[in-house]
Symmetry: C2
Amino acid sequence: MSDEEPTSIWMRPERYERSGPGRRPGYSREQITRTAVRIADAEGIEAATMRRIASDLGTGAMSLYRYVPRRDDLFDLMIDMAMSEIELPEGSSGDWRSDLTLLARQMRAAGLRHSWLIALLTSRPALGPNLLRVYEYALGAFDGLGLDIDDITGYVGMLDDYVHSATRREIGWLEETRRTGLDPEHWKRDYMGPYVRQVVESGALPLFSRSVLDSRTAHLAPAERFRHGLERILDAIAALIASLPGDTVGQP
Amino acid sequence: MSDEEPTSIWMRPERYERSGPGRRPGYSREQITRTAVRIADAEGIEAATMRRIASDLGTGAMSLYRYVPRRDDLFDLMIDMAMSEIELPEGSSGDWRSDLTLLARQMRAAGLRHSWLIALLTSRPALGPNLLRVYEYALGAFDGLGLDIDDITGYVGMLDDYVHSATRREIGWLEETRRTGLDPEHWKRDYMGPYVRQVVESGALPLFSRSVLDSRTAHLAPAERFRHGLERILDAIAALIASLPGDTVGQP
DNA sequence: CCTATTTGCGTACTACGTACCCGAAATGCA
DNA sequence: TGCATTTCGGGTACGTAGTACGCAAATAGG
Protein backbone atom coordinates (compact mmCIF):
# COMPACT_ATOMS: atom_id res chain seq x y z
CA MET A 1 0.00 0.00 0.00
CA SER A 2 1.88 3.04 -1.26
CA ASP A 3 0.71 6.58 -0.67
CA GLU A 4 2.65 7.76 -3.67
CA GLU A 5 -0.28 7.46 -6.08
CA PRO A 6 -0.05 10.40 -8.46
CA THR A 7 -3.20 12.34 -7.72
CA SER A 8 -4.22 15.97 -7.40
CA ILE A 9 -2.68 17.81 -4.47
CA TRP A 10 -6.22 18.64 -3.34
CA MET A 11 -6.87 14.98 -2.76
CA ARG A 12 -3.75 14.66 -0.62
CA PRO A 13 -4.42 16.92 2.36
CA GLU A 14 -1.80 17.58 4.94
CA ARG A 15 -2.05 15.36 7.97
CA TYR A 16 -3.18 17.65 10.74
CA GLU A 17 -2.96 16.86 14.41
CA ARG A 18 -1.62 13.42 13.94
CA SER A 19 -1.56 11.54 17.20
CA GLY A 20 0.86 8.67 17.25
CA PRO A 21 4.53 7.90 17.23
CA GLY A 22 7.15 9.75 15.26
CA ARG A 23 8.76 13.12 15.19
CA ARG A 24 6.43 16.17 15.07
CA PRO A 25 6.51 18.11 11.79
CA GLY A 26 8.47 21.33 12.08
CA TYR A 27 6.94 23.08 9.11
CA SER A 28 3.66 23.14 7.18
CA ARG A 29 2.35 23.42 3.67
CA GLU A 30 0.94 26.81 4.47
CA GLN A 31 4.29 28.07 5.75
CA ILE A 32 6.19 26.68 2.78
CA THR A 33 3.68 28.12 0.34
CA ARG A 34 3.82 31.54 1.97
CA THR A 35 7.60 31.55 1.70
CA ALA A 36 7.44 30.53 -1.95
CA VAL A 37 4.93 33.29 -2.66
CA ARG A 38 7.08 35.89 -0.95
CA ILE A 39 10.15 34.92 -2.95
CA ALA A 40 8.23 34.77 -6.23
CA ASP A 41 6.66 38.17 -5.59
CA ALA A 42 10.02 39.79 -4.98
CA GLU A 43 12.26 38.02 -7.49
CA GLY A 44 10.04 36.19 -9.94
CA ILE A 45 8.70 32.67 -10.04
CA GLU A 46 11.98 31.27 -11.31
CA ALA A 47 13.66 32.38 -8.07
CA ALA A 48 11.30 30.25 -6.00
CA THR A 49 13.35 27.08 -6.26
CA MET A 50 13.10 24.27 -3.76
CA ARG A 51 16.58 25.03 -2.44
CA ARG A 52 15.86 28.72 -2.10
CA ILE A 53 12.54 28.23 -0.33
CA ALA A 54 14.14 25.75 2.05
CA SER A 55 17.05 28.08 2.65
CA ASP A 56 14.71 30.94 3.55
CA LEU A 57 13.02 28.60 6.00
CA GLY A 58 16.39 27.68 7.45
CA THR A 59 16.24 24.06 6.37
CA GLY A 60 17.38 21.74 3.60
CA ALA A 61 15.74 21.36 0.23
CA MET A 62 14.67 17.78 0.77
CA SER A 63 12.71 18.66 3.87
CA LEU A 64 10.08 20.30 1.71
CA TYR A 65 9.26 16.99 0.10
CA ARG A 66 7.79 15.82 3.39
CA TYR A 67 5.04 18.38 2.79
CA VAL A 68 4.73 18.77 -0.98
CA PRO A 69 4.98 15.85 -3.41
CA ARG A 70 6.40 17.80 -6.34
CA ARG A 71 7.32 21.35 -7.20
CA ASP A 72 4.37 21.55 -9.58
CA ASP A 73 2.03 20.89 -6.69
CA LEU A 74 3.62 23.78 -4.86
CA PHE A 75 2.61 25.94 -7.82
CA ASP A 76 -0.99 24.82 -7.31
CA LEU A 77 -0.75 25.75 -3.65
CA MET A 78 0.70 29.16 -4.55
CA ILE A 79 -2.13 29.83 -6.99
CA ASP A 80 -4.68 28.95 -4.37
CA MET A 81 -3.02 31.13 -1.75
CA ALA A 82 -3.05 34.09 -4.13
CA MET A 83 -6.69 33.43 -5.00
CA SER A 84 -7.55 33.29 -1.33
CA GLU A 85 -6.81 37.03 -1.15
CA ILE A 86 -9.74 37.77 -3.41
CA GLU A 87 -12.47 39.03 -1.14
CA LEU A 88 -16.03 38.70 -2.34
CA PRO A 89 -19.44 39.13 -0.73
CA GLU A 90 -21.43 36.08 0.18
CA GLY A 91 -23.88 35.92 -2.69
CA SER A 92 -24.76 37.86 -5.79
CA SER A 93 -26.19 41.35 -5.46
CA GLY A 94 -28.66 40.93 -8.29
CA ASP A 95 -26.69 43.37 -10.44
CA TRP A 96 -24.35 41.17 -12.45
CA ARG A 97 -22.43 44.14 -13.86
CA SER A 98 -21.35 45.43 -10.50
CA ASP A 99 -20.63 41.92 -9.21
CA LEU A 100 -18.35 41.18 -12.12
CA THR A 101 -16.72 44.61 -11.95
CA LEU A 102 -15.81 43.93 -8.35
CA LEU A 103 -14.47 40.51 -9.24
CA ALA A 104 -12.46 41.82 -12.19
CA ARG A 105 -10.84 44.52 -10.09
CA GLN A 106 -9.93 42.10 -7.34
CA MET A 107 -8.51 39.65 -9.84
CA ARG A 108 -6.45 42.35 -11.53
CA ALA A 109 -5.14 43.51 -8.17
CA ALA A 110 -4.12 39.98 -7.24
CA GLY A 111 -2.42 39.57 -10.61
CA LEU A 112 -0.44 42.75 -10.11
CA ARG A 113 0.54 41.83 -6.55
CA HIS A 114 1.73 38.40 -7.70
CA SER A 115 3.21 38.88 -11.14
CA TRP A 116 3.51 35.13 -11.62
CA LEU A 117 -0.16 34.38 -10.90
CA ILE A 118 -1.73 34.84 -14.33
CA ALA A 119 1.07 32.95 -16.05
CA LEU A 120 0.63 29.98 -13.71
CA LEU A 121 -3.17 30.13 -13.89
CA THR A 122 -3.18 29.88 -17.67
CA SER A 123 -0.38 27.37 -17.93
CA ARG A 124 -1.89 24.60 -15.82
CA PRO A 125 -5.38 23.34 -14.95
CA ALA A 126 -5.63 24.65 -11.38
CA LEU A 127 -8.88 23.89 -9.61
CA GLY A 128 -8.01 24.71 -6.04
CA PRO A 129 -10.77 25.48 -3.56
CA ASN A 130 -10.25 29.23 -3.73
CA LEU A 131 -10.31 29.32 -7.49
CA LEU A 132 -13.53 27.33 -7.39
CA ARG A 133 -14.95 29.75 -4.83
CA VAL A 134 -14.17 32.71 -7.10
CA TYR A 135 -15.51 30.88 -10.14
CA GLU A 136 -18.71 30.05 -8.31
CA TYR A 137 -19.15 33.72 -7.47
CA ALA A 138 -18.69 34.66 -11.12
CA LEU A 139 -21.25 32.10 -12.25
CA GLY A 140 -23.56 33.27 -9.47
CA ALA A 141 -23.64 36.77 -10.93
CA PHE A 142 -25.73 35.39 -13.80
CA ASP A 143 -27.90 33.14 -11.69
CA GLY A 144 -31.60 33.77 -11.65
CA LEU A 145 -31.69 35.41 -15.07
CA GLY A 146 -33.00 32.28 -16.72
CA LEU A 147 -29.81 31.78 -18.69
CA ASP A 148 -28.49 28.49 -19.97
CA ILE A 149 -25.51 27.15 -17.97
CA ASP A 150 -23.43 26.97 -21.16
CA ASP A 151 -24.15 30.62 -21.87
CA ILE A 152 -23.21 31.54 -18.32
CA THR A 153 -19.86 29.75 -18.49
CA GLY A 154 -19.30 31.38 -21.86
CA TYR A 155 -19.82 34.87 -20.47
CA VAL A 156 -17.64 34.17 -17.45
CA GLY A 157 -15.01 32.82 -19.82
CA MET A 158 -15.11 36.04 -21.83
CA LEU A 159 -14.59 38.07 -18.69
CA ASP A 160 -11.80 35.82 -17.44
CA ASP A 161 -10.06 35.98 -20.79
CA TYR A 162 -10.17 39.75 -20.74
CA VAL A 163 -8.95 40.13 -17.17
CA HIS A 164 -6.15 37.67 -17.73
CA SER A 165 -4.89 39.11 -20.97
CA ALA A 166 -5.26 42.72 -19.87
CA THR A 167 -3.44 42.06 -16.62
CA ARG A 168 -0.80 40.06 -18.39
CA ARG A 169 -0.23 42.90 -20.83
CA GLU A 170 0.03 45.27 -17.91
CA ILE A 171 2.69 43.13 -16.24
CA GLY A 172 4.08 42.02 -19.59
CA TRP A 173 7.30 43.72 -20.46
CA LEU A 174 7.64 44.84 -16.87
CA GLU A 175 8.28 41.18 -16.07
CA GLU A 176 10.42 40.84 -19.16
CA THR A 177 12.73 43.57 -17.95
CA ARG A 178 13.18 41.86 -14.61
CA ARG A 179 13.91 38.58 -16.34
CA THR A 180 16.47 40.00 -18.71
CA GLY A 181 17.94 42.25 -16.03
CA LEU A 182 17.53 45.35 -18.19
CA ASP A 183 15.85 48.39 -16.72
CA PRO A 184 12.45 49.22 -18.25
CA GLU A 185 13.53 52.32 -20.15
CA HIS A 186 16.56 50.58 -21.59
CA TRP A 187 14.46 47.61 -22.63
CA LYS A 188 11.86 49.66 -24.46
CA ARG A 189 14.43 51.88 -26.11
CA ASP A 190 17.21 49.42 -26.95
CA TYR A 191 15.69 45.95 -26.95
CA MET A 192 12.25 45.92 -28.53
CA GLY A 193 11.92 49.59 -29.50
CA PRO A 194 14.27 49.64 -32.47
CA TYR A 195 12.58 46.65 -34.05
CA VAL A 196 9.10 48.12 -33.69
CA ARG A 197 10.35 51.43 -35.04
CA GLN A 198 11.90 49.70 -38.01
CA VAL A 199 8.65 47.86 -38.71
CA VAL A 200 6.61 51.04 -38.42
CA GLU A 201 8.99 53.04 -40.61
CA SER A 202 9.02 50.34 -43.26
CA GLY A 203 5.39 51.22 -43.93
CA ALA A 204 4.53 47.60 -44.68
CA LEU A 205 2.01 47.28 -41.85
CA PRO A 206 -0.11 50.44 -41.83
CA LEU A 207 -2.72 49.28 -39.32
CA PHE A 208 -0.19 47.90 -36.85
CA SER A 209 1.62 51.22 -37.20
CA ARG A 210 -1.58 53.12 -36.48
CA SER A 211 -2.13 50.95 -33.40
CA VAL A 212 1.32 51.97 -32.19
CA LEU A 213 1.27 55.64 -33.17
CA ASP A 214 -2.36 56.72 -32.91
CA SER A 215 -3.49 54.79 -29.86
CA ARG A 216 -5.16 56.99 -27.29
CA THR A 217 -5.73 54.30 -24.67
CA ALA A 218 -1.99 53.61 -24.62
CA HIS A 219 -1.52 56.93 -22.88
CA LEU A 220 -4.12 56.30 -20.23
CA ALA A 221 -3.23 55.30 -16.72
CA PRO A 222 -3.22 51.48 -16.45
CA ALA A 223 -6.23 51.35 -14.13
CA GLU A 224 -8.21 53.58 -16.47
CA ARG A 225 -7.26 51.50 -19.49
CA PHE A 226 -8.34 48.38 -17.65
CA ARG A 227 -11.68 49.97 -16.79
CA HIS A 228 -12.25 50.92 -20.44
CA GLY A 229 -11.66 47.39 -21.66
CA LEU A 230 -13.75 45.96 -18.87
CA GLU A 231 -16.69 48.17 -19.80
CA ARG A 232 -16.36 46.95 -23.36
CA ILE A 233 -16.55 43.33 -22.32
CA LEU A 234 -19.49 43.95 -20.02
CA ASP A 235 -21.26 45.83 -22.79
CA ALA A 236 -20.64 42.91 -25.09
CA ILE A 237 -22.07 40.44 -22.59
CA ALA A 238 -25.08 42.69 -22.02
CA ALA A 239 -25.67 42.82 -25.75
CA LEU A 240 -25.47 39.04 -26.01
CA ILE A 241 -27.96 38.58 -23.19
CA ALA A 242 -30.32 41.11 -24.72
CA SER A 243 -30.21 39.36 -28.08
CA LEU A 244 -31.11 35.94 -26.70
CA PRO A 245 -34.30 34.29 -27.92
CA GLY A 246 -36.82 34.01 -25.14
CA ASP A 247 -36.18 37.58 -24.24
CA THR A 248 -38.02 38.72 -27.35
CA VAL A 249 -39.52 41.79 -25.80
CA GLY A 250 -38.51 44.46 -28.22
CA GLN A 251 -38.43 42.22 -31.29
CA PRO A 252 -41.07 42.38 -34.00
CA MET B 1 33.17 46.44 -30.63
CA SER B 2 31.04 43.60 -29.38
CA ASP B 3 28.16 42.13 -31.34
CA GLU B 4 26.74 40.68 -28.14
CA GLU B 5 24.36 43.58 -27.50
CA PRO B 6 21.20 42.07 -26.05
CA THR B 7 18.58 42.95 -28.61
CA SER B 8 15.59 41.29 -30.22
CA ILE B 9 16.38 38.29 -32.40
CA TRP B 10 14.59 40.08 -35.24
CA MET B 11 17.26 42.76 -35.21
CA ARG B 12 20.00 40.15 -35.45
CA PRO B 13 19.41 38.48 -38.80
CA GLU B 14 21.40 35.49 -39.88
CA ARG B 15 24.34 36.37 -42.08
CA TYR B 16 23.45 35.05 -45.50
CA GLU B 17 25.84 34.53 -48.36
CA ARG B 18 28.85 35.78 -46.54
CA SER B 19 31.82 36.13 -48.86
CA GLY B 20 35.11 36.17 -47.09
CA PRO B 21 37.48 33.95 -45.21
CA GLY B 22 36.42 31.35 -42.70
CA ARG B 23 34.66 28.04 -42.65
CA ARG B 24 31.20 27.85 -44.26
CA PRO B 25 28.31 27.35 -41.84
CA GLY B 26 27.02 23.80 -41.87
CA TYR B 27 23.61 24.55 -40.43
CA SER B 28 21.07 27.36 -40.40
CA ARG B 29 18.56 29.00 -38.11
CA GLU B 30 15.77 27.66 -40.25
CA GLN B 31 17.08 24.11 -39.98
CA ILE B 32 17.63 24.35 -36.23
CA THR B 33 14.20 25.87 -35.70
CA ARG B 34 12.53 23.19 -37.80
CA THR B 35 14.22 20.49 -35.75
CA ALA B 36 13.17 22.14 -32.50
CA VAL B 37 9.58 22.39 -33.73
CA ARG B 38 9.53 18.74 -34.74
CA ILE B 39 10.77 17.62 -31.33
CA ALA B 40 8.41 19.92 -29.44
CA ASP B 41 5.45 18.74 -31.53
CA ALA B 42 6.18 15.11 -30.78
CA GLU B 43 7.37 15.22 -27.17
CA GLY B 44 6.49 18.61 -25.75
CA ILE B 45 8.37 21.86 -25.52
CA GLU B 46 10.39 20.68 -22.55
CA ALA B 47 11.93 17.95 -24.72
CA ALA B 48 13.33 20.53 -27.13
CA THR B 49 16.54 21.10 -25.21
CA MET B 50 19.67 22.46 -26.81
CA ARG B 51 21.40 19.10 -26.41
CA ARG B 52 18.51 17.19 -27.91
CA ILE B 53 18.11 19.50 -30.89
CA ALA B 54 21.82 19.33 -31.56
CA SER B 55 21.81 15.57 -31.19
CA ASP B 56 18.99 15.24 -33.71
CA LEU B 57 21.06 17.35 -36.09
CA GLY B 58 24.06 15.12 -35.48
CA THR B 59 26.16 17.82 -33.85
CA GLY B 60 27.11 19.15 -30.43
CA ALA B 61 24.99 21.43 -28.30
CA MET B 62 27.36 24.37 -28.48
CA SER B 63 27.23 24.48 -32.25
CA LEU B 64 23.70 25.86 -32.04
CA TYR B 65 24.99 28.98 -30.36
CA ARG B 66 26.67 29.99 -33.59
CA TYR B 67 23.16 30.50 -34.96
CA VAL B 68 20.95 31.41 -31.99
CA PRO B 69 22.07 33.69 -29.15
CA ARG B 70 19.95 32.11 -26.41
CA ARG B 71 17.38 29.39 -26.04
CA ASP B 72 14.67 32.00 -25.50
CA ASP B 73 15.39 33.42 -28.92
CA LEU B 74 14.90 29.97 -30.36
CA PHE B 75 11.42 30.05 -28.85
CA ASP B 76 10.72 33.26 -30.76
CA LEU B 77 11.89 31.59 -33.93
CA MET B 78 9.68 28.58 -33.25
CA ILE B 79 6.66 30.81 -32.70
CA ASP B 80 7.31 32.59 -35.95
CA MET B 81 7.76 29.36 -37.86
CA ALA B 82 4.44 28.08 -36.53
CA MET B 83 2.74 31.36 -37.40
CA SER B 84 4.17 31.17 -40.90
CA GLU B 85 1.87 28.22 -41.54
CA ILE B 86 -1.17 30.43 -41.22
CA GLU B 87 -2.34 31.07 -44.75
CA LEU B 88 -4.39 34.16 -45.35
CA PRO B 89 -5.61 36.00 -48.47
CA GLU B 90 -3.91 39.19 -49.50
CA GLY B 91 -6.33 41.79 -48.19
CA SER B 92 -9.67 41.92 -46.45
CA SER B 93 -12.75 40.67 -48.23
CA GLY B 94 -15.00 43.40 -46.94
CA ASP B 95 -16.85 40.92 -44.72
CA TRP B 96 -15.07 41.09 -41.40
CA ARG B 97 -16.97 38.12 -39.96
CA SER B 98 -15.78 35.71 -42.59
CA ASP B 99 -12.26 37.13 -42.52
CA LEU B 100 -11.99 36.62 -38.78
CA THR B 101 -13.63 33.20 -38.93
CA LEU B 102 -10.98 32.12 -41.39
CA LEU B 103 -8.25 33.54 -39.21
CA ALA B 104 -9.62 31.95 -36.04
CA ARG B 105 -9.81 28.52 -37.66
CA GLN B 106 -6.29 28.76 -38.99
CA MET B 107 -4.99 29.88 -35.62
CA ARG B 108 -6.78 27.07 -33.82
CA ALA B 109 -5.40 24.55 -36.30
CA ALA B 110 -1.88 25.85 -35.77
CA GLY B 111 -2.35 25.69 -32.01
CA LEU B 112 -3.49 22.08 -32.22
CA ARG B 113 -0.65 21.10 -34.53
CA HIS B 114 1.88 22.70 -32.20
CA SER B 115 0.62 22.16 -28.68
CA TRP B 116 3.30 24.47 -27.27
CA LEU B 117 2.41 27.43 -29.49
CA ILE B 118 -0.33 29.11 -27.44
CA ALA B 119 1.62 28.72 -24.20
CA LEU B 120 4.69 30.35 -25.72
CA LEU B 121 2.66 33.07 -27.43
CA THR B 122 1.06 34.17 -24.19
CA SER B 123 4.16 33.80 -22.04
CA ARG B 124 6.45 36.16 -23.93
CA PRO B 125 6.08 39.27 -26.08
CA ALA B 126 6.68 37.76 -29.50
CA LEU B 127 6.47 40.17 -32.40
CA GLY B 128 8.01 38.16 -35.18
CA PRO B 129 7.28 39.06 -38.80
CA ASN B 130 4.70 36.33 -39.24
CA LEU B 131 2.80 37.23 -36.10
CA LEU B 132 2.73 40.82 -37.29
CA ARG B 133 1.49 39.70 -40.67
CA VAL B 134 -1.37 37.79 -39.08
CA TYR B 135 -2.14 40.67 -36.73
CA GLU B 136 -2.22 43.11 -39.61
CA TYR B 137 -4.71 40.87 -41.38
CA ALA B 138 -6.92 40.81 -38.29
CA LEU B 139 -6.82 44.58 -37.97
CA GLY B 140 -7.48 44.86 -41.69
CA ALA B 141 -10.78 43.03 -41.32
CA PHE B 142 -12.16 46.11 -39.57
CA ASP B 143 -10.55 48.65 -41.88
CA GLY B 144 -12.81 50.94 -43.81
CA LEU B 145 -15.68 50.76 -41.34
CA GLY B 146 -14.81 54.12 -39.83
CA LEU B 147 -13.82 52.57 -36.53
CA ASP B 148 -11.38 54.02 -34.06
CA ILE B 149 -8.01 52.23 -34.00
CA ASP B 150 -8.39 51.58 -30.27
CA ASP B 151 -11.74 49.93 -30.86
CA ILE B 152 -10.26 47.82 -33.63
CA THR B 153 -7.40 46.57 -31.47
CA GLY B 154 -9.93 45.91 -28.73
CA TYR B 155 -12.07 43.73 -30.96
CA VAL B 156 -9.06 41.87 -32.32
CA GLY B 157 -7.92 41.38 -28.74
CA MET B 158 -11.28 39.87 -27.82
CA LEU B 159 -11.03 37.46 -30.69
CA ASP B 160 -7.43 36.55 -29.90
CA ASP B 161 -8.29 35.97 -26.27
CA TYR B 162 -11.09 33.63 -27.23
CA VAL B 163 -9.08 31.66 -29.76
CA HIS B 164 -6.17 31.31 -27.38
CA SER B 165 -8.16 30.26 -24.35
CA ALA B 166 -10.46 27.95 -26.29
CA THR B 167 -7.54 26.26 -28.01
CA ARG B 168 -5.65 26.05 -24.77
CA ARG B 169 -8.61 24.39 -23.10
CA GLU B 170 -8.82 21.99 -26.00
CA ILE B 171 -5.17 21.03 -25.62
CA GLY B 172 -5.29 21.49 -21.86
CA TRP B 173 -5.37 18.24 -20.00
CA LEU B 174 -4.29 16.46 -23.16
CA GLU B 175 -0.92 18.14 -22.67
CA GLU B 176 -1.11 17.50 -18.96
CA THR B 177 -1.41 13.78 -19.53
CA ARG B 178 1.67 13.78 -21.72
CA ARG B 179 3.59 15.74 -19.13
CA THR B 180 2.65 13.51 -16.25
CA GLY B 181 3.02 10.38 -18.35
CA LEU B 182 -0.47 9.16 -17.53
CA ASP B 183 -2.81 8.13 -20.30
CA PRO B 184 -5.80 10.42 -20.87
CA GLU B 185 -8.43 8.08 -19.49
CA HIS B 186 -6.40 7.31 -16.41
CA TRP B 187 -5.75 11.01 -15.82
CA LYS B 188 -9.40 11.99 -16.01
CA ARG B 189 -10.56 9.07 -13.91
CA ASP B 190 -7.83 8.81 -11.28
CA TYR B 191 -6.03 12.13 -11.19
CA MET B 192 -8.42 15.05 -11.49
CA GLY B 193 -11.73 13.21 -11.71
CA PRO B 194 -12.08 12.11 -8.08
CA TYR B 195 -11.46 15.63 -6.84
CA VAL B 196 -14.04 17.17 -9.16
CA ARG B 197 -16.49 14.46 -8.23
CA GLN B 198 -15.90 15.10 -4.54
CA VAL B 199 -16.46 18.83 -5.04
CA VAL B 200 -19.63 18.23 -7.03
CA GLU B 201 -20.99 15.72 -4.54
CA SER B 202 -20.28 18.04 -1.61
CA GLY B 203 -23.00 20.30 -2.97
CA ALA B 204 -21.13 23.42 -1.89
CA LEU B 205 -20.76 24.80 -5.40
CA PRO B 206 -24.11 24.33 -7.18
CA LEU B 207 -23.32 26.41 -10.26
CA PHE B 208 -19.92 24.86 -10.83
CA SER B 209 -21.61 21.51 -10.47
CA ARG B 210 -24.22 22.47 -13.05
CA SER B 211 -21.44 23.55 -15.39
CA VAL B 212 -19.92 20.08 -15.02
CA LEU B 213 -23.09 18.00 -15.08
CA ASP B 214 -25.53 19.90 -17.27
CA SER B 215 -23.22 21.26 -19.93
CA ARG B 216 -24.41 20.49 -23.41
CA THR B 217 -21.46 21.99 -25.25
CA ALA B 218 -19.11 19.68 -23.33
CA HIS B 219 -20.47 16.79 -25.36
CA LEU B 220 -20.02 18.48 -28.69
CA ALA B 221 -17.16 17.65 -31.00
CA PRO B 222 -14.26 20.01 -30.29
CA ALA B 223 -14.49 21.75 -33.65
CA GLU B 224 -18.18 22.33 -33.15
CA ARG B 225 -17.67 23.68 -29.66
CA PHE B 226 -15.03 26.03 -30.97
CA ARG B 227 -17.39 27.24 -33.68
CA HIS B 228 -20.11 27.93 -31.09
CA GLY B 229 -17.84 30.05 -28.96
CA LEU B 230 -16.47 31.83 -31.99
CA GLU B 231 -19.95 32.77 -33.15
CA ARG B 232 -20.61 34.16 -29.70
CA ILE B 233 -17.55 36.39 -29.81
CA LEU B 234 -18.32 37.57 -33.32
CA ASP B 235 -21.91 38.31 -32.25
CA ALA B 236 -20.55 40.28 -29.32
CA ILE B 237 -18.25 42.31 -31.56
CA ALA B 238 -21.08 42.93 -34.00
CA ALA B 239 -23.26 44.17 -31.15
CA LEU B 240 -20.51 46.50 -29.96
CA ILE B 241 -20.02 47.94 -33.43
CA ALA B 242 -23.77 48.41 -33.85
CA SER B 243 -24.02 50.26 -30.55
CA LEU B 244 -21.29 52.76 -31.36
CA PRO B 245 -22.21 56.42 -31.48
CA GLY B 246 -21.81 57.78 -34.99
CA ASP B 247 -23.63 54.80 -36.35
CA THR B 248 -26.90 56.21 -35.03
CA VAL B 249 -29.05 54.91 -37.82
CA GLY B 250 -31.66 52.97 -35.93
CA GLN B 251 -31.53 55.07 -32.80
CA PRO B 252 -34.26 57.56 -31.90
C1' DC C 1 13.74 1.43 28.15
C1' DC C 2 12.63 -0.51 23.74
C1' DT C 3 10.54 -0.41 19.37
C1' DA C 4 7.88 1.49 15.68
C1' DT C 5 7.15 5.41 13.18
C1' DT C 6 7.84 9.92 11.30
C1' DT C 7 10.63 14.00 10.26
C1' DG C 8 15.13 16.49 8.96
C1' DC C 9 18.26 16.69 5.63
C1' DG C 10 23.11 15.50 3.64
C1' DT C 11 24.70 13.19 -0.34
C1' DA C 12 24.31 12.25 -4.95
C1' DC C 13 22.40 11.54 -9.64
C1' DT C 14 20.69 13.35 -13.85
C1' DA C 15 19.80 17.06 -16.87
C1' DC C 16 19.76 21.73 -18.04
C1' DG C 17 21.76 26.35 -20.35
C1' DT C 18 25.82 28.07 -21.74
C1' DA C 19 30.96 30.24 -21.09
C1' DC C 20 35.42 29.13 -22.66
C1' DC C 21 38.66 27.39 -25.71
C1' DC C 22 41.06 25.09 -29.32
C1' DG C 23 41.41 22.54 -33.54
C1' DA C 24 39.43 22.28 -38.26
C1' DA C 25 38.14 24.32 -42.39
C1' DA C 26 37.83 27.86 -45.79
C1' DT C 27 39.28 31.98 -47.92
C1' DG C 28 42.35 36.03 -49.78
C1' DC C 29 46.85 37.35 -50.55
C1' DA C 30 51.81 36.87 -51.19
C1' DT D 1 51.42 26.95 -53.50
C1' DG D 2 51.92 28.43 -48.77
C1' DC D 3 50.47 31.38 -45.06
C1' DA D 4 47.67 34.44 -42.29
C1' DT D 5 43.13 35.35 -41.06
C1' DT D 6 38.64 34.37 -39.99
C1' DT D 7 34.79 31.51 -38.97
C1' DC D 8 32.69 27.16 -37.61
C1' DG D 9 32.40 22.62 -34.77
C1' DG D 10 32.06 20.94 -30.61
C1' DG D 11 34.47 18.96 -26.24
C1' DT D 12 34.98 20.19 -21.53
C1' DA D 13 33.36 22.29 -17.61
C1' DC D 14 30.71 25.29 -14.36
C1' DG D 15 26.68 26.53 -11.95
C1' DT D 16 22.02 25.42 -10.93
C1' DA D 17 17.84 22.77 -11.27
C1' DG D 18 14.47 18.75 -9.31
C1' DT D 19 14.47 15.03 -6.57
C1' DA D 20 15.65 9.67 -5.17
C1' DC D 21 17.83 7.43 -1.39
C1' DG D 22 19.17 6.51 3.05
C1' DC D 23 20.18 7.35 7.71
C1' DA D 24 20.14 9.93 12.10
C1' DA D 25 17.16 12.35 15.27
C1' DA D 26 12.90 12.81 17.57
C1' DT D 27 8.58 11.10 19.49
C1' DA D 28 4.88 8.08 21.08
C1' DG D 29 3.12 3.69 23.01
C1' DG D 30 4.10 -0.67 25.44
